[in-house]
C-alpha cells in the first residue's frame, strides 16, 4: 500500500494574530460587543479573539459609509474607482498564500480548495468588477445608471473571503459604499481583506467591516440609513429580513439555501458524471448552497453508477484541512456537525440505505465521513431539507419527464446539473429546470462573468455578470 506522507502547508504563513479588530471609517477599532473566540474546526483550538460590534458601532459604520458615499465614492469617476478595485485584486493575489492558509484554519476547508478556488476566484471578482466601473453606461441600464448609496451586507461561513468579494466588488464598482458583516465563526479573512483595503488606500468609510453574531447582522440589515441589503445565508433568516424590509422602500437581494438536483441520464459520460457528483456534493464538505445534494439517476444505469460512485468516494481523503492532499476537510462548527448528524439519523429512521466511506477520521476536530444514501424517496427529510454537509441522497427516475418533475419538486431552486451526451436533451432539460444556475456535464463551476442566484426559496437577485450589476444600481 502506498500511503501519502503528510504534506501540510505551514500554518505560519497565515500570519495569525492573537487579536483581530473591526474596520470602521478606515481605522481598525475595538467594538462595544463582547469579543468572540474563533475556533479552528480542524482541531477545536481557539485561533484568535475578535472584537465585535454593538449598536453604536453599527451606527458609526453606517454613518462613515454615508459620509464616504456623499463626499467621495458616489461622485468619483468610474475610471478612478476602478484603480482602487484593481489594486485590491492585485493585493489579494500578492497575499494569496496567507489568505488561503488563514481561510483553511478558520473555516476548515481543505487548503487545495482555498488555494485553488476561494482566493483566486475572490481576486477574479475584483478584477472583473473593476473593469465595469467605467463602463456602467454600456451595461444596458441607460446612459448613466446611479448607485444606490449605503449597502448593508451579511455573508455566510462557507466561503468567507469569496462571499466578501462577491458582495464588495460589485458594490464598489457601481459607486456604493459598504457595511459588511462576515459570519460569526469565520471573521478572519474578511478582516485581513480590511488590511488589504487599507493597503489599497481606499478612502475611509467606503468599506466598513464589522464582526459579531446574528444580532449584529440584524442591526446592519435593519438600519434605517442603509439603502440596500444583500444577504447570503439560510432561507430562515432570509425570510426574517424580507419581512423586516417590506414596505421600507429599501432594496433587497437574497441568496439562500438550495437542494439541487444532479440528473444523470443513461447516456451520460459515466466516469465524468461520477466526478461531477463527487464535486457537486463533497466540494467544501458539502457546505455549498448550490451543492448537488440530490442525485437523480436513470434506473437503467443506477446500479453501475452507484458502484462507481462508492469506489470513487472511498478514495476521498478526509482530514487535516492544511494537508495539501486532503479532499474533504472539517465541518465548520460543532453546531453544523450536530445538524448533519441529526438529518442523517432521520435518513436512517425513514428507511433510506446509508453507505459511509470507510476513511479514517481524525480524533479531534469536527469531521463527518462522506455519506451516500440510496433508495431515497422524495418524501424523506434528506430529500427535502438542505443538509449542508457531505451527504448525498440518491433517487432514481425512469423517464426524462419524471426527472424534471422530481428535480423541480422542491421549494428551492438555486442550481441543477444535467449529465447526458445528447445536446438536445441538455437544452430541453435546462429550459424546464426551475433553477438559477444549470450546469451541463459539469458542476460547481464559478466565474465572475456568470450570474448566480436562485428561484423561489433560494432567493432573488443575481450576483456576477452584467445582470449582477443591476442589484447595486438605481435602474
Amino acid at each position: 500500500m502506498w500511503e501519502y506522507a503528510p504534506a501540510p502547508e505551514s500554518r505560519d504563513i497565515a500570519n495569525l494574530k492573537p487579536n483581530y479588530r473591526m474596520f470602521i471609517d478606515g481605522q481598525f477599532v475595538e467594538g462595544a460587543g463582547d469579543p468572540l473566540k474563533t475556533v479552528n474546526p480542524g482541531t477545536e483550538e481557539v485561533l484568535a479573539e475578535v472584537s465585535t460590534a454593538g449598536q453604536a458601532d453599527v451606527d458609526k459604520a453606517v454613518k462613515a459609509a454615508r459620509r464616504a458615499y456623499e463626499r467621495v465614492w458616489g461622485r468619483m469617476p468610474g475610471a478612478e474607482r476602478a484603480k482602487y478595485i484593481f489594486r485590491i485584486a492585485r493585493l489579494i493575489q500578492e497575499r494569496a498564500r496567507e489568505l488561503a492558509v488563514l481561510e483553511s484554519l478558520d473555516n476548515g476547508k481543505p487548503i487545495k480548495e482555498s488555494r485553488d478556488v476561494d482566493v483566486p476566484t475572490a481576486a477574479a471578482h475584483f478584477f472583473y468588477h473593476a473593469g465595469w466601473a467605467d463602463k456602467l453606461g454600456y451595461a444596458g441600464y441607460g446612459p448613466d445608471p446611479r448607485p444606490l448609496g449605503v449597502v448593508g451586507q451579511v455573508i455566510p461561513w462557507n466561503f468567507p473571503l469569496l462571499m466578501a468579494a462577491w458582495k464588495i466588488a460589485p458594490a464598489l464598482a457601481t459607486g456604493n459604499t459598504v457595511v459588511i458583516k462576515p459570519a460569526e465563526t469565520t471573521p478572519l479573512t474578511a478582516l485581513v481583506l480590511a488590511e488589504i483595503i487599507q493597503q489599497a488606500d481606499l478612502p475611509p468609510g467606503v468599506v466598513n467591516i464589522l464582526a459579531g453574531a446574528g444580532d449584529v447582522g440584524a442591526a446592519v440589515v435593519s438600519h434605517p440609513d442603509v439603502d440596500k441589503v444583500a444577504f447570503t445565508g439560510s432561507t430562515e433568516v432570509g425570510k426574517i429580513i424580507q419581512r423586516q424590509l417590506a414596505g421600507t422602500g429599501r432594496r433587497l437581494t437574497l441568496e439562500l439555501g438550495g437542494k439541487a438536483a444532479n440528473i444523470v441520464f443513461d447516456d451520460a459520460p459515466l466516469d465524468q458524471a461520477v466526478e461531477g457528483i463527487v464535486n457537486g456534493i463533497f466540494f467544501n464538505q458539502g457546505h455549498v448552497c448550490c451543492a448537488g445534494s440530490r442525485l437523480l439517476v436513470q434506473e437503467s444505469v443506477a446500479d453501475e453508477l452507484l458502484e462507481k460512485l462508492h469506489v470513487r468516494v472511498s478514495t476521498l481523503r478526509v482530514g487535516d484541512p492544511l494537508d495539501k492532499n486532503t479532499d474533504v476537510g472539517a465541518i465548520n462548527s460543532r453546531e453544523q456537525l450536530t445538524k448533519i448528524q441529526e438529518l442523517v439519523e432521520s435518513g436512517d429512521a425513514e428507511g433510506a440505505e446509508r453507505w459511509t466511506s470507510a476513511c479514517p477520521l481524525p480524533d479531534k476536530g469536527f469531521y463527518f465521513a462522506p455519506t451516500v444514501f440510496s433508495n431515497v424517496s422524495q418524501a424523506m427529510r434528506i430529500a427535502r431539507e438542505e443538509i449542508f454537509g457531505p451527504v448525498l441522497s440518491v433517487l432514481t427516475f425512469r423517464t426524462p419527464d419524471e426527472a424534471v418533475a422530481k428535480a423541480n419538486n422542491t421549494p428551492y431552486g438555486l442550481s441543477a446539473g444535467i449529465w447526458t451526451e445528447k445536446g438536445s436533451r441538455i437544452l430541453w432539460a435546462a429550459q424546464k429546470m426551475r433553477a438559477g444556475v444549470v450546469w451541463a456535464n459539469t458542476f460547481n463551476r464559478f466565474d465572475p462573468t456568470a450570474p448566480f442566484g436562485g428561484y423561489q426559496e433560494s432567493g432573488f437577485g443575481r450576483e456576477g455578470g452584467r445582470t449582477g450589476l443591476e442589484a447595486y444600481l438605481d435602474v
Binding site: Y4, P269, E421
Partner: protein, 321 residues
Amino acid sequence: MAAPSTSPSLPPALADAVRDDASLRRFLHGLPGVDQVGVEQRAAGLGTRSIKKASKQWAIDTAISMVDLTTLEGADTHGKVRSLAAKARRPDPDHPDVPRVAAVCVYPDMVETAVEELRGTGIDIASVATAFPSGRSSLKVKLEDTAYAVDAGATEIDMVIDRGAFLSGRYGQVFDEIVQVKHACGDAHLKVILETGELATYDNVRRASWLGLLAGGDFIKTSTGKVSPAATLPVTHVMLQAVRDWHTQTGELRGVKPAGGIRTTKDAIKYLVAVHEVAGPEWLTPTLFRFGASTLLNDLLMQRRTQLAGHYSGPDYVTVD
C-alpha cells in the same frame, strides 16, 4: 472474426460483443462517452497531489522498477543495446540497492543482443513488432515480424494497432490482427499500442482500449513515442478506467503502459497517483503498470540521490547510456 485466444470464459455480455463485426461495433459504440472537459479537469486535479518524504522515496523506487528502458532509433547498434542492458541491470552503480528496471525495449533485430546481456537477471526483453511504428504492412509481415522477435527471445511484444482501420470503423479487422499477433506471441506478453495521438478523441481511446482488452492484450499502451502528442495524463486516465472496468466485469487484471514524453520524476509521480486513485492500489506493480521511457530513468535516479543525500547532485553523477 477470429476467436480471441485468451479469455475463454468472458462474461456473456463481452462474449457476445466479439461474436461478429456488427456486435463488436455495437458494443464499442455503446460504451459511455468520455467528457473531455471532465477528464482533463480530473487529471489536472489529481496532478496537484503533494507526494513527500517516505511516500516519494517509495514512488521513485516503484517507478524505477516499472521502467521499460527503451531505445528505438534507426541508429541503434549492438553496442548501444549492450550499454542499455548494463544500465537496466544496475541503474545506479553507486547505489546497488536501486531496483532493476522492468524491461528493455528494442527493435526485433536487437532482441538477440539484449537476451545475451540480460540472461538470468529477470529483466524482461520487450520488442516492438508489427511494422512499428506505423503498422502499415500486410498481416503476414506483421505476424512474421512478431515471430522473429519471439524466436529471438523477446518475452514481451509491443504491437501497434492499425489506426487507419480503426479510424475507418473496421474494428473487426483491428480485433483480428490483435488476436493473431497474440497467438504468434505464444508465451510472450502482448502490449497493444493504441497510438492515442492519432486517435484524437477520448471516446476513441476508450473504444480502442476495450478493443485491445477484448482481443486479449495483456497491456494497453498509449503510444509509440514517434507521434506527438505521446502519453498524456488524461489519456492514461481513460485507459486506467478501462482496465478497472475490465476487472470489475471479468475479474482479470490487465496492465497499462504510458510511453513517450514522460521525462521527469514529477511527471512519473503524477502517473503513479493516477494509477493509485483511478485504477486502484493493486495496479501499482510492474506486472500491471509500466513507463515506456528512455530519459526518465536518469531523472528518477537523480531524484533518488537527492532524497537520500538531502541535496541535489547533478547529471554527471548518473550514467549516460
